[in-house]
């Protein structure tokens, strides 16, 4: 359904995101995990043409055969919301502070339909109910600042799924929600994906959530996919050193055997910090922070090494048959 | 953070001329030209601004010997414009500088004062800013008679709340910094801190504001002389020249064009200069403009 090929996003000449190939089929749910600044938001924003003005996008993003990059704005606007929905980050800033919520949700509904007011209002209430917001009358009449962050985020989710899109891009869509509500929202998204064959690109740094919702996960570092594969396979048996470090750093309590098998004797964090744009080392972008870098890592690692549905681009990956040695 | 500041200072001192903002250059040229003309007028003008020369009146622009033509008394328009420049600059510079001094002192005082004083003065300043300068000028003119004195005094009164307002905001911000607290803890007195720490940090704001105020003063001076409340004859003023040209609209319309253009260029010059200074002195404030 969605095919990304050779996507390259640059800002001021510096490479911010580079995806050689990524595909999502109908009803498939893919997670995108990575630290802040890893470029995951840039990748998903480019799909809809909502990247910052200073960013240049080249490559190909085909949606049901239609090339999205360079598509005239009017056509792109039809696809946005109608066929591809977006739940943006930071709910507090993503709603118009001077417009009532009801009207904002109704906008999402009516932009892609010719329904009359009554139908639209009914759909708005239906959506409010779907995202588990109580007291729809109050919500419809309220302004964004009168809602809590979590409520705002649910409104944004409601707007994104309003037209039953074929693909939903959720950028940190559940971070502001407390655990019970989060669970319900995730169940809702899962249901939509399964019943309506809605594809899902779920950007998050919460691995537990990603494991729950997604079938596959891509680990992003420095704007590149460093590892990709079935969610359990990647999280329990990561091959790329960065994935391993990220997952380890994220685990508070071991959830299964694989977690237990990790050495959690000390609180791990990844050495160093994400370099600024334009300051990545050549070759493997992670090599300066990696405890297992070898000489091969200095070379450009373009193609991903295949390993039965589980891809990565590490020159010194973790193997689960034997141990691999640290080089420093 | 410190490195950033140091670096930006180093870069700035080596800024090439071509990297200065365009507004600054254009504004600077216009204003510089204006000042030169005004200063020159003390020493030389093409013709004597006062003597009448009725035989040569209403000459059009480009006449021989009279670059911009003559007015209804036969006086050379160019000379009148030059003298008008002198008057405009005189009024605007004097009134702006004096009001800035008073307003800055007032603003500094209020910024360092307690919450109650801040509240009352802020409200008073808000009201003061809303009162049109022309109104003040007319009140003064009723009291002490029309003329430049009334104009200058009125503009000063009008500008004091404006300058105070411009100063209070940034001054309060600077005063909340840690190093100010340290200075006080070190034993420095209030006014020492205000002058040596606060003032230098807000000086760029004041300079930019001064430029804008110069522009506003020129406009109001012209308006006042147009109404007859400002500079009186025989002092030349752009506004009054326009007023005299009004009944001659049909005979010599060009008399109306030149003084107006002079006003536009002078005001534009100061406005652009202010914009340019703001862009140059405080690059953080300027977004994508």
């Amino acid at each position: 359904m969605l095919t990304i090929q050779n996507l390259h996003v640059t800002i001021a000449g510096h490479s911010v995101a580079k995806v050689e190939s990524l595909e999502i089929s109908k009803g498939q749910r893919i997670g995108l995990v990575g630290e802040s600044g890893s470029g995951k938001s840039m990748i998903v924003m480019s799909i809809l043409g909502l990247q910052p003005k200073s960013a240049k996008v080249t490559g190909s993003i085909k949606f049901n055969g239609v090339e999205l990059i360079g598509l005239p704005e009017k056509k792109l606007a039809d696809i946005r919301g109608g066929l591809i929905g977006l739940v943006p980050q930071d709910p507090t800033k993503s709603l118009n502070p001077t417009m009532r919520i009801g009207r904002q949700i109704a906008e999402a509904v009516s932009l892609h339909s010719i329904d009359g007011k009554k139908t639209v209002n009914r759909r708005v209430r239906e959506l409010i109910d779907n995202v588990r917001l109580p007291d729809p009358d109050r919500i419809i009449r309220s302004y964004p600042h009168q809602l809590s962050g979590g409520q705002q985020q649910r409104v944004l989710i409601a707007m994104a799924i309003a037209c039953d899109p074929m693909l939903l891009i959720a950028d940190e869509a559940t971070t502001a929600l407390d655990v019970t509500v989060q669970g319900e929202i995730l169940k809702l998204l899962l249901a939509l994906s399964k019943e309506l064959e809605m594809g899902l690109i779920f950007v998050s740094h919460d691995l537990g959530v990603v494991r729950f919702v997604c079938q596959n996960v891509a680990v992003i570092y420095g704007g590149q996919i460093v590892e990709f594969g079935p969610v359990d396979s990647v999280i329990d048996h990561p091959a790329h050193r960065y994935s391993d470090a990220l997952i380890t750093a994220n685990i508070a309590f071991p959830e299964n055997e694989a977690d237990v098998a990790r050495d959690l004797s000390e609180l791990r964090s990844i050495k160093g910090s994400v370099p600024a744009i334009g300051e990545f080392p050549d070759g493997c972008r992670f090599r300066n922070r990696c405890g297992f870098a070898v000489t091969a890592c200095r070379l450009f690692v373009p193609l991903q090494q295949v390993d039965n549905g589980h891809l990565h681009r590490c020159c010194n990956p973790i193997s689960y048959t034997g141990k691999s040695d640290a080089t420093h | 953070m410190v490195e950033q500041v140091l670096i930006s200072k180093r870069v700035r001192s080596r800024t090439k001329f071509s990297q200065l903002p365009a507004t600054l250059i254009i504004g600077g040229i216009l204003v510089g030209f204006l000042f030169c003309v005004a200063i020159l007028s003390f020493v030389w003008t093409p013709y004597d601004p006062i003597t009448l020369n009725v035989r040569n009146r209403y000459l059009p622009i480009g006449s021989e010997g009279y670059l911009l033509g003559t007015d209804k008394f036969g006086r050379d328009v160019l000379t009148q414009i030059i003298m008008g420049a002198r008057n405009s600059l005189f009024v605007s510079v004097v009134s702006t500088l004096i009001s800035l001094m008073i307003g800055t002192l007032l603003g500094l005082y209020v910024a360092a004062a307690g919450a109650r004083v801040k509240n009352i003065v802020s409200r008073a300043v808000d009201v003061g800013v809303a009162i049109p300068g022309i109104l003040i000028a007319m009140v003064l003119a009723t009291a002490i008679g029309p003329g430049n004195t009334a104009a200058i005094t009125a503009i000063i009164i009008w500008f004091i709340p404006v300058s105070a307002r411009v100063v209070i905001g940034p001054a309060v911000q600077v005063l909340s910094q840690d190093y100010i607290e340290a200075a006080f803890g070190y034993g420095r007195k209030k006014w020492f801190v205000l002058f040596n720490h606060v003032l230098p940090n807000i000086s760029s704001t004041i300079i930019v504001q001064a430029s804008v105020m110069f522009a506003a003063a020129i406009l109001i001076e012209a308006a006042l002389s147009f109404l007859g409340v400002g500079a009186q004859s025989p002092i030349a003023s752009w506004g009054r020249t326009l007023k005299e040209a009004q009944p001659l609209m049909e005979i010599a319309p060009s008399l109306m064009v030149v003084p107006g253009l002079a006003i536009v260029f002078a005001v534009l010059g100061f406005n652009l200069l202010g914009d340019g200074l703001r862009a140059y002195l405080d690059p953080q404030q300027t977004r994508k403009r």
């Binding site: 606007a77 109608g82 930071d90 600042h145 | 109104l135 009140v139 109404l227 107006g260 406005n271 403009r289």
Partner: protein, 346 residues
């Protein structure tokens, strides 16, 4: 991470009671505002009065000229009521102002309150007309400039608005008269036809003055709208609207305009002084029988009471306009509304 507790149930009836007390609070707020307005006006009147009395030499002396004898001066002072204690003069004046009796001018040729009343409408027409025209045009031009900030059209608009702020209103008026009234004859060169007499003629007579006055105000306001719009353009909610399916332009107009208008209203309030100042000058250019003309003649004739009164009226006009803009601000921004009413929920 915010906790979300939604309590449903017994709180249902609270909103009704709540809204009623909210209305009461709103009305109270209005009344307080009105009172503050009056007090500001009175303080202003005091200042004006004081300025005139303290600085104004001896009006009677000036009116009679240098050769007047002390006796003549004293007589005139008594006649004009200038020999009374100043607070008596002040209260008398204020009383007269609000009861409609300000006496006759020093020159004796007109009833002061009467003249003010007659001239109020043309001035208000000019001032309010220009305000609306300027705000309307500024919103359009400013949005256009912001949407086109990186191409030639936007830069051109920027330059034009920059020049516009430098053009004095009275000069614009003169040029407009020369071109459109004297040469082309489309509009009258001056004078004012009251609305009651001839609707279209009245509009024609007020058209050029409003254009002249609006030029400067529109330019300044346009620059502010452009700046506010540029801020809005970068806001996330514009991106959300685009994600829903709007094109950038429509997203900006539908969502951005209202948000960008908020700082514009604040700026409009600051422009009121310029607006009224310009009104006075434009009345002079187009010979419109408004308060400005009255003020001018009064200044020349040292008519202290007239000047006081007209200045007070103009101050009141400015304060009222300020008040109205304040209301508009509350209408535009629901966050302020809640803050003012103390109903900050959420």
């Amino acid at each position: 991470m915010t906790q979300e507790t939604k309590s449903v149930g017994p709180i249902q009836s609270a909103p009704r009671r709540f809204f009623r007390s909210q209305k009461v609070r709103q009305v109270k707020g209005f009344i307080t505002q009105g009172v503050v307005l009056l007090i500001s006006a009175l303080m202003g009147s005091l200042v004006v009065f004081a300025l005139l009395r303290l600085l104004g030499g001896d009006v009677a002396y000036i009116l009679l000229g240098m050769e007047a004898t002390q006796e003549q001066v004293n007589m005139l002072r008594a006649e004009l009521g200038l020999d009374r204690a100043w607070f008596v003069q002040y209260f008398d004046w204020i009383k007269g102002f609000f009861t409609g009796d300000l006496g006759t001018s020093f020159s004796g040729s007109y009833e002061i309150f009467d003249q003010i009343g007659k001239r109020l409408i043309p001035t208000l027409l000019l001032a309010f007309g220009s305000l609306f025209v300027s705000i309307f045009l500024a919103l359009i031009l400013g949005t256009y400039a912001a949407l086109n900030v990186d191409n030639a059209k936007g830069i051109a608009t920027d330059i034009v608005s920059q020049i516009g702020t430098a053009i004095p209103a009275f000069w614009a008026g003169l040029i407009l008269v020369v071109v459109f009234a004297v040469s082309l004859g489309w509009f009258p060169a001056g004078g004012y036809i009251p609305i009651q007499e001839d609707f279209w003629g009245s509009l024609r007579s007020i058209f050029l003055p409003i254009v002249a006055l609006s030029l400067g105000i529109t330019s300044v306001t346009t620059r502010f709208v452009r700046s506010a719009m540029l801020d809005v353009l970068n806001e996330d909610y514009i991106r959300t609207a685009m994600a829903k399916g709007r094109t950038r332009k429509r997203a900006v107009i539908i969502h951005g305009l209202r948000n960008a208008s908020i700082p514009v209203v604040t700026v409009g309030a600051l422009q009121l002084g310029n607006l009224l100042a310009g009104t006075i000058v434009i009345e002079s250019v187009f010979v419109i029988p408004g308060l400005g003309q009255l003020l001018l003649t009064a200044v020349n004739g040292r008519e202290v009471i007239v000047v006081q009164s007209v200045v007070l009226v103009i101050l009141l006009i400015i304060l009222v306009m300020n008040f109205l803009l304040d209301i508009a601000y509350g209408l535009l921004d629901p966050r302020i509304r809640d803050k003012r009413n103390g109903t900050n929920n959420g």
